[in-house]
Amino acid sequence: MRTATATIMGTVVSLAAPDDVPAADFDAAGEAAFGWLRHVDAVFSPFRADSPISRIRDGRLAPSAIEPGSEIHEVLSLCEELKQASDGAFDAWAVGDPPGFDPCGAVKGWATERAGALLTAHGLTRHALNAGGDVRLRGGRDGTPWRVALTDPHRPRTVLTVLTVADGAVATSGTAERGAHVFNPSSGRRATALAQVTVTGPDLARADGYATAALALADGPRGAATAREWLRGLAERTGYQALTVDPAGATWWTGGLAAHLPQLS
């Protein structure tokens, strides 16, 4: 397996591709993807006072003034779509306390989805791209699906289970690595009722947003049941499948996930 890593967006991005890819092609595709992610990191940083995100947050830049077709516009549209799809659980405009605009929960998945497309455009049609735990896969490995380990949130470095995915995305949101960092906009509290949510489907931007939304939904009055109900409906509407782990370690998954769990058959 050819592998490459880069430290971007406060995490490490890992790229893997089969050995039969020429090294020069692998390196060129990887640099294009990493370069794009570094660009996104700079443009969307909420920590830079002059970034568009900071300017939207403090009112210097009105969303209506943002040029359609621009990167910022694309992310804002995605945030709006995720807010609608999650009944408001994913709300980039109500992050933190006091609530403010922060699209970070959408940016990483979106940027990594685009980075994967760049890899393909550079000829790297079989790849596994991992942005700090959110994964985009293409082309299978060598005639077989990629094997994606899901971490056990209660036992770091151990594998909860393995999903097989030839083409698609696997996104996981949880409280294990960074503490509870997902806010429920309706309660203003940090989401803790589920330890981890994994969502798999065609597109990483959506999978990532759905996983984050489910974690926030679990913080509602009915707790994890609300999140599972929503994930079940999501699977029916969109085909995106999910697996959750609660704080006691119990797992639950949508029926369609079985297609990615060969160990069940």
């Binding site: 060598d142 990629w146 380990a149 899901l150 690595e177 079940r232 119990a250 639950w252």
Partner: protein
């Protein structure tokens, strides 16, 4: 590559050697109890609303079926450089599914080891058994936390 890269598997196995394997070797299967799943004690999740279609619910992630070679094997107390440690190996269907650290030392230098190194040793031994993976999805790790992640071990093994 799953079929063609024994090198990766070997590398991961090497990562898990050292004290982790020393702990495992300390397990002398003094007693074999009833088969138990690593997560068997976890309570079942809240029942799904009755109006909704049934979904899969389990107290454990898709786990190996119990079969021959299942059971809990408790080791004797062994002295390690981190202090006396006793471990329990849980096997299911002939596969190692969990390692439980039964006794740890506290205080002084070794308390830091207990809260950090022992869980890593335990998980590395399990990770070596699960080496047939390409990539790891989990809660976002920081660039600092990456070094301790299973993905870091995979990236290192691929080179």
């Amino acid at each position: 590559m799953r079929k063609t890269s024994p090198a990766r598997r070997t590398s991961l196995a090497l990562l898990s050697t050292g004290a982790g394997v020393a702990l495992l070797l300390g397990v002398k299967a003094q007693s074999a109890g009833a088969p138990r799943s690593a997560l068997a004690d976890a309570p079942r999740p809240a029942a799904a609303p009755s109006a909704a279609p049934p979904s899969s619910t389990s107290t454990a992630a898709p786990a190996p079926a119990a079969g021959s070679g299942s059971g809990t094997f408790t080791g004797s107390v062994v002295d390690t450089r981190y202090g006396p440690v006793q471990v329990q190996a849980v096997k299911s269907g002939g596969k190692l599914t969990d390692i439980v650290v039964l006794q740890q030392t506290y205080g002084g230098h070794s308390s830091q080891i207990d809260s950090y190194a022992l869980p890593v040793l335990k998980s590395e031994a399990l990770a070596a058994q699960s080496a047939d993976i390409d990539v790891v999805s989990g809660a976002t790790y920081t660039s600092e936390g990456y070094a301790q992640s299973l993905q870091a071990a995979l990236d290192a093994a691929g080179k």
